[in-house]
C-alpha cells in the first residue's frame, strides 16, 4: 500500500525555465518529472486524501475542492508566466513518478501538439449578462382593460412575451459577439452559463466564452471587447489572462465527456 501519490499539475517542455521554490498542494515542494523533451510538474500528495476513496469524498466537499483548485491554479499560473504549459485537469494522480513518466512517453506526440497550439497564445474569457426583466416594464399597457381579470391575464401574457423576446434578442446578440471575438482568436469555445448562486449574478448569462488569442493580438482582442461592450445593452466581463485550460485538451482521451 503506497502512502503518497504523485499529483501532476501540467506538462511543459523539459528545457523550460521554471520558477524555483514553488509550493504545491498542502505546501509540498514541486519537482519536474521528465521524459525526453517533455516534463510534468509534480508534487507529492497524501494517498488517503487523493486516493480513490478520498477523492470520491473530497470532490463533493466544496471547501476541499476550492482549496485544491486554488493550489492547482496557483502552480499553473506561476509556471505559465514563465513558459508554455499545458495544464492538466484537476486531480490527475499517479502512484509514482515512474508511472507518470511512462504516460509522458506514451503520449509524447499528443503533448507536443498541445504545446505547439498554446505557445505564444493566451486564453481570455468573456462573459455577457443580460437582464431581460428590465424589458418587462418597457412598453406601456396597450389598451384600457375591459374586465380586471382579463386585463390581468393579458398583462401577464404581454409581460411573458416581452421577456421572451428580450431573452431571444440577448442570446442573438451574444451569438454575434461570440462570432466577432472568435474571428480574432486562434480557437474559441463556449462554456455553459455559470450557476447564478455560485457566480453571484442576476439576470441571464448569455455568453461564457473562452478564446485562445495570439499574444500579438491581445490588445486588439481587448479593444474589440471594449467596442462590443459599448454597443451592447448587456454587461460584458473580460477575464484573464488564463493558462490555456479550455484549449489544452487531447481529443482522444476524454471518454464520456459530454461536449
Amino acid at each position: 500500500m503506497v502512502e503518497t501519490l504523485s499529483y501532476a499539475y501540467g506538462i511543459l517542455r523539459a528545457d523550460a525555465d521554471v520558477p524555483r521554490d514553488l509550493a504545491g498542494i498542502a505546501g509540498a515542494a514541486l519537482r519536474l518529472v521528465t521524459s525526453g523533451d517533455l516534463a510534468a510538474l509534480v508534487s507529492t500528495v497524501d494517498a488517503e486524501e487523493f486516493g480513490e476513496r478520498g477523492l470520491r469524498e473530497n470532490l463533493e466537499d466544496m471547501r476541499w475542492l476550492e482549496r485544491t483548485v486554488r493550489a492547482h491554479s496557483r502552480v499553473v499560473d506561476a509556471v505559465a508566466a514563465c513558459a508554455p504549459v499545458a495544464p492538466l485537469a484537476l486531480a490527475t494522480v499517479y502512484f509514482s513518478d515512474e508511472r507518470l513518466r511512462t504516460v509522458l512517453e506514451e503520449r509524447a506526440s499528443a503533448f507536443e501538439a498541445v504545446l505547439e497550439l498554446i505557445t505564444g497564445r493566451t486564453e481570455w474569457g468573456v462573459k455577457a449578462y443580460a437582464d431581460p426583466s428590465t424589458a418587462e416594464n418597457g412598453p406601456a399597457d396597450r389598451e384600457a382593460p375591459y374586465r380586471p381579470g382579463q386585463a390581468y391575464l393579458g398583462k401577464l401574457r404581454q409581460r411573458r412575451e416581452v421577456r421572451a423576446q428580450a431573452e431571444s434578442e440577448a442570446l442573438q446578440q451574444a451569438e454575434g459577439m461570440h462570432h466577432a471575438l472568435s474571428g480574432l482568436a486562434h480557437a474559441s469555445l463556449l462554456h455553459p452559463p455559470q450557476n447564478r448562486e455560485l457566480a453571484g449574478y442576476r439576470g441571464l448569462m448569455v455568453l461564457n466564452g473562452a478564446y485562445l488569442v495570439d499574444d500579438s493580438r491581445a490588445d486588439e482582442f481587448a479593444s474589440a471587447v471594449d467596442d462590443l461592450a459599448s454597443k451592447s445593452s448587456a454587461r460584458i466581463e473580460l477575464t484573464g489572462p488564463w493558462p490555456p485550460y479550455s484549449f489544452a485538451t487531447l481529443a482522444d482521451s476524454r471518454p464520456g465527456r459530454a461536449p
Binding site: 508511472r99 455559470q194 481587448a222
Partner: protein
Amino acid sequence: MTSGRDVEPRSVHDAREIALVDLLDRLLAGGVVLSGDVTISLAGVDLVRVSLRAVIMSIRESAADADSWSSR
C-alpha cells in the same frame, strides 16, 4: 440596466482572488484529461470522473437554462 464593460483583467501576479466559478469552469471541464492511476485502478469504471461530473452538475445552471442555452 447600465451598459458598459466591467473589465477586470487579472495578471498572474495579481493578488486579487480569481472567482472560484471561473476556475471550476476551467479546471473541471478543461485541462488535459489523462487517465491517472487512481482512475485506472477502478476496474474500468471512471468513478473519479463520475464524481467530478456530479460536482460540475451541482455548479451548473438548472437544466432548463442549460437547455435554452444549447438550443441557441
